[in-house]
Symmetry: C2
Amino acid sequence: MTAPAPTAADRLLSVLAAYDHAHPALSLSDIGRRAGLSLTTAHRLVGALTRWGALERDESGVYHVGLRLWEIAALAPRGLALRQVAWPYLEDLFEATHENLQLAVRHGGEVVYIEWLAARSSVGVHIRVGARWPLHATGVGLALLAHGGAEFQEAYRTGPLASFTPYTITDPARLRRVLAEMRRTGVAVSDRQVTDDAVSVATPVHGRDGTVAAAVSVVVPYAGARVPTLVPAVRLAARGISRALGWRPDIPLTGEDGPPRGC
Amino acid sequence: MTAPAPTAADRLLSVLAAYDHAHPALSLSDIGRRAGLSLTTAHRLVGALTRWGALERDESGVYHVGLRLWEIAALAPRGLALRQVAWPYLEDLFEATHENLQLAVRHGGEVVYIEWLAARSSVGVHIRVGARWPLHATGVGLALLAHGGAEFQEAYRTGPLASFTPYTITDPARLRRVLAEMRRTGVAVSDRQVTDDAVSVATPVHGRDGTVAAAVSVVVPYAGARVPTLVPAVRLAARGISRALGWRPDIPLTGEDGPPRGC
């Protein structure tokens, strides 16, 4: 019986999908179990991936994600390429605020953090680059959700809204009001909705065609947070990144988000 | 005839390998041509990769590297994971110098840049994260080559040594002396060897077992470069990153480099 090639492709990708933040290092049997593959198949596919450089085997026999995969993934327009375009503006924002900064894009119902700069006065939020978080809890997530299109927003709002603190918005009607306010002011605030000691001030980044490509935020400790003083700096940084992506002030801003153009 | 599965794996990986810095966006026919696949096969494999999220198709029908691949690649110990560990030390070095900073690892005969922070006074060197460069020309490359093991060094020195400026070291005997000096002092200097207006001061980063895991450098304009004043700062940053990787001063430093432990 010939195995159809799409299945072979899917099996190979299932090996990569066995890796996540909780599982950055896997033995051959871990991979087989997590990918649902026989040990023989796992051995063969891991061999191909290792020869190519997508995986690397360390001296203890454990497999890590390899440098060659990282090099190719660095070309993702919504990953390092976006980060590279955004870097000078994040650097300036960091010099101006010395607070935690985040750059994120939307992937389905979650934000994916593309960049994260840590302040010395670290709040309880510890985000890894590549980490995900639900849209409705985070500042960047609210900024992205507010521009995610009416149909997507409706589906998201009426789905389950996970609660992380007593302040997390879990009421669909309240979320709708918050999103409308975000679109009116251009700024989203997550006030202790992820951890009860942190406030995030976020604003969207627009691409060449005016669509929302990403969001940038400053995260500060709740105690002593002066949100209004952070807003102009965050807006300025987001506008700078938007311009670097090819957006111009005469391009109308549109709600639907998409992949960034021009990076 | 049954197609052996390793070939299927190799074909899928050849689609990813079609992407590089000069080719970050490819049409289906570009992919087929660059990967040496028929259009039918390319179509099927690109479909599987797109469904999974390793590729993303934009509105113009062109395929980019996808966010999901980037998320998994972010787990590479020698990629974003190393960068995440190194970040506070690079940030401090940047605050102290406000110069171009680079963090790199060795992959075969090349350095791969994991992090790159740009100074305002930008010199002629423009490095992309994920970019490669030959070992013998760059400061980080010399630092990594000097600890690459005697056999590897011998093979590298006697191979072709590409020249980028009149100052690039292309003489194997001179390269041997430079590498010995690097090991003695712990510092590698690339003096106008990549571009004729830049000097790089680099030093190795050690992992938990004392092996060389990476190298960090400051790159400054040749005009007015005060190399001796940069050395302590670069050494301090490299030592900080080494400690964060689990190295301790009582662990003997060894020459052979390997993947970093403890990140």
